[in-house]
């Protein structure tokens, strides 16, 4: 087991390195750098001005060297301007000469500087991650129990009316991407002119103008049911159908097993059979699915945060990518790669613990 985890961690590290290098290479292509220079300087810069801007900031070195600098294994660039001012990757011109470090990269704990937000990348990413963590937590709290309940209820009696209604519901949710369900929810539940809200307000059943708030910006400080439920519901719904279908499949399989028949013949109550005999075994497969679903939620998070204007990690990704903010984008991709690979690892390890028939050698 230990060797298995170590090997997986090794592969994870290699994947993260390759992936960041690809991101690094794509963001450092010349047209992207030119766009960066023009957005940072001004849009009417001549080609020479762009070149000297990039040269002075170390952007025109060969890509492997720049990548080494970002990692912290190659010495950072140092430029001496015509007036004798020395600037570098790791220090500004007013740092005393003996306090100037040679290496500064992620190995030294320096994630670089965001050109869009004019802040250090590390704290920026952490604040945004905390906000998205809050969103994800709510999503998981809503999605996992409801998906499991739907799946178990549907799989309990295969082919019944309940099964057919719930299966149709699961298929419909997997066919509704976040930008479709989000748009429909806002129009139906959060518009002061259309849908349910004006009707409910007229009846005096809701105090505010709309049933839910169509923007989650205020939920960043103070999340309430009113301003936070729609984004959470939108993300949960898309992931839910898949988990529910997997739970249903696993539940129907368990319900046809011999030991369930024995229990029925013994005269155990149906609710006891479902809750005490079947559920435990039926939940092994959905566990893996839930873990592997988490990286997919990341996509939903990006869409929903854009749609509901919730300034979390997904919103940060869009901002970084749209403005070619190289170091921020690299930090974002490192975080998302770790999320993807860590959930894969946890699902593999968890599966072994849950299912005693599987042994890793």
């Amino acid at each position: 087991m230990g060797i298995f985890i170590l090997r997986r961690l090794g592969v994870m590290l290699l994947t993260a390195l390759c992936l960041t290098f690809i991101v690094f290479w794509l963001t450092n292509l010349y047209p992207n750098l030119e766009k960066l220079a023009k957005t940072q300087g001004n849009f009417r810069m001549s080609d020479e001005a762009v070149a000297s801007y990039l040269e002075n900031r170390g952007y025109l070195q060969p890509t492997p060297i720049k990548f080494g600098q970002w990692l912290g294994v190659a010495p950072g660039w140092v430029t001496e301007a015509a007036d004798g001012k020395v600037t570098g990757r790791c220090f500004s011109s007013d740092t005393p000469v003996d306090a100037r470090p040679t290496f500064c990269g992620i190995l030294q704990g320096d994630w670089g500087f965001s050109t869009v937000f004019k802040e250090d990348v590390g704290p920026t990413v952490l604040t945004r991650l905390a906000l998205t963590g809050k969103l994800m937590l709510c999503v998981l709290l809503l999605m996992v129990p409801s998906a499991l309940i739907v799946g178990v209820l549907a799989g309990m009696r295969e082919g019944s009316r309940l099964d057919r209604s719930l299966s149709t519901f699961s298929i419909a949710t997997t066919a509704t991407p976040e930008y479709v369900s989000g748009v429909i929810f806002i129009a139906v539940l959060a518009s002061s002119r259309f849908g349910l809200s004006p009707w409910l307000a007229e009846m005096g059943w809701i105090d505010s103008k709309t049933l839910f708030l169509g923007s989650a910006t205020s939920a960043m400080e103070n999340a309430t049911f009113w301003n936070f439920f729609l984004p959470v519901l939108t993300i949960s719904l898309y992931g839910m159908g898949y988990i529910a279908r997997m739970t249903r499949a696993s539940m129907t399989e368990v319900m046809t097993a011999q030991y369930i028949r024995t229990a029925r013949l013994k005269g155990v109550k149906f609710s006891d059979i479902v809750l005490k005999h079947a559920l435990r075994n039926a939940l092994i497969a959905p566990f893996t699915v839930i873990m592997l679903q988490i990286p997919w939620l990341l996509n939903g998070v990006v869409i929903v945060e854009t749609l509901f204007n919730y300034k979390g990690f997904g919103w940060l990704l869009v901002q970084a990518a749209a403005n070619n903010d190289i170091e921020l984008l690299l930090a974002v991709s490192v975080v998302s790669v770790i999320v993807v690979l860590a959930t894969q690892l946890i699902s593999d390890i968890g599966y072994v613990f849950l299912n005693p028939r599987i042994r890793i050698t």
Binding site: C18, L26, T174, A175, A321
Partner: protein
């Protein structure tokens, strides 16, 4: 000219429809609740071992629900028929039903012919044994016909999808045109968007973009996935480790980050999408060549002319696909010449090409993993061992023994993946990547409509519902196919 209501002169049917739907929902809900209470012996077995219908309260409720459902369905058909006859007099639905008449005819012909000959049509015919599959197929074909008739023949649309009509900005569905010429269509059936264009006509035009790109992109992704996945699963070893690592690497990317990195005008300038197209589009060629060669290499007199003809046509298509204006890559600093313009069959807009390439790129690793898994499973079967003993080459075994036996899961996944590709295309449009901002495709339209969502939701809702129904149709179709292919 008055504004249209949703059902116009057929409005007297609305309460009836509401009643039928209400009875159906109520009956089914009560039936589900009743099923939690244990009861004994509700099902009787008649003579000859035929199970009788459910008796008692549960059976009664079930029958009431079914009748109400049939009644609701009949009323919808009445709306449709009345609409076809009366047109806009039967409200917005009537207008839509009349405009879409060619689609209804095509659907009816397709279903009648398919149902008549379903026993001789293989897996496709079996689809018509499953209700779910038929509903799914109907939904999908509805959009395919809408796309083809509206996009290619300009038939279904009421107005030009790009022209702006003064005074129609953000107007609600059914609003009459302010100063319409007599020969023009008098209403915006689904309203106007924020640039005063007809939402309905854009919806129809947008379906063509999706119907065109999604299946083609999925097909290319399958070609790449199959060509790489079969050897990875069959040979195993270092090749498998390497290819699986690459696939996992691409899968570890968040899809949206990848799109933002690949589908920007700056990246298009560098020519990277053209190189990717060059690599990804060669796979169908390789696939065809290996497929035919492994089968016919023992008969060179047949193999050689066959390969020359097939590869000649495929190669021509390939070169036409990758070269635009006589160049394969046309970056500012250099240029790689391609097929000259006069033999170039079609030019693909660089925006569409980059969208296409990135969608293929994102989908291919998943297909690779599925094919690899299937190949790992099937290569242990006896018929593979028999082929190996016969002395067949590895590629013959992969393409003519393993692949045909993996077709069931692959066909099902193909349907699901077209749906997923549609969602990806919508995502691209939603972030304003790739296609130009006036493109009528659904993602871009949703993106344009979401800014005024709480005031004028119709401009975003229409494409959202369209996308939902197409993807739902594909999922139901896949479900029906899975059911039917498992049956034999």
């Amino acid at each position: 000219m008055e504004a249209l209501t949703w059902t116009g002169s057929m409005g007297w049917l609305n309460p009836v429809l509401g009643l039928a739907v209400g009875v159906m929902v109520l009956a089914y809900a009560v039936q589900i609740l009743v099923s939690f209470v244990p009861s004994a012996g509700v099902r009787t077995i008649g003579s000859g071992g035929i199970a009788a219908a459910n008796q008692g309260l549960s059976g009664l409720l079930g029958r009431a629900g079914s009748y109400a459902f049939l009644a609701a369905l009949m009323i919808v058909v009445v709306y449709l028929l009345a609409g076809i006859v009366m047109g806009p007099a039967a409200g917005i639905f009537g207008g839509l039903a009349q405009q879409l008449l060619p689609v209804w005819i095509a659907l009816a012909v397709l279903f009648v012919v398919s149902l008549k000959f379903k026993r001789s049509l293989g897996l496709y015919g079996k689809l018509f044994d499953s209700t779910v599959g038929m509903i799914g197929f109907g939904l999908v074909m509805f959009w395919v016909f809408t796309g083809v008739f509206g996009g290619v023949f300009d038939m279904l649309i009421t107005h030009d999808s790009l022209s702006q009509v003064s005074g129609m900005k953000n107007k609600l569905p059914g609003t009459p045109l302010a100063r319409a010429e007599p020969e023009e269509f008098q209403w915006f059936l689904l309203g106007g968007d924020n640039l005063a264009r007809d939402v309905y006509s854009r919806l129809v035009k947008g379906s063509w973009v999706v119907v065109q790109i999604a299946p083609m992109a999925t097909l290319f992704a399958f070609m790449v996935g199959i060509t790489l996945g079969l050897p990875a699963g069959y040979y195993g070893g270092k090749l498998d480790v390497f290819l699986s690592f690459l696939a996992n690497l691409i899968l570890a990317f968040p899809v949206i980050l990848l799109f933002y990195l690949l589908v920007t005008p700056e990246i298009v300038l560098t020519g990277i999408p053209n190189y990717m197209a060059l690599v990804l589009f060669i796979f169908p060629l390789v696939f065809l060549a290996v497929l035919l060669n492994s089968r016919f290499y023992t008969q060179p007199s047949l193999r050689t002319p066959l390969l020359i003809i097939v590869l000649g046509i495929a190669g021509w298509l390939y070169l036409s696909l990758v070269s635009t204006d006589g160049a394969i890559v046309d970056a500012p600093t250099y240029r790689i010449p391609g097929l000259p313009a006069f033999v170039d069959l079609f030019d693909i807009d660089p925006g569409v090409l980059v969208v296409f390439v990135s969608v293929v790129f994102v989908n291919a690793p998943t297909v690779f993993r599925i094919v690899r898994g299937l190949a790992l499973d099937i290569k242990t079967r006896d018929y593979v061992a028999a082929a190996q003993t016969r002395g067949e080459g590895p590629w013959y075994i992969m393409l003519w023994e393993i692949l045909p036996n993996a077709r069931g899961p692959l066909i099902v996944d193909f349907c699901l993946r077209i749906g997923y590709t549609t969602i990806l295309l919508g995502t691209l449009g939603f972030f304003g990547l790739g296609l130009e901002s006036e493109s009528p495709d659904w993602g871009t339209t949703i993106n344009a409509g979401r800014r005024l969502l709480s005031l004028y939701p119709h401009a975003a809702i229409a494409p959202a519902v369209a996308l939902l129904s197409l993807v739902l149709g594909l999922n139901l179709l896949a479900d029906g196919l899975r059911e039917e292919s498992l049956r034999d």
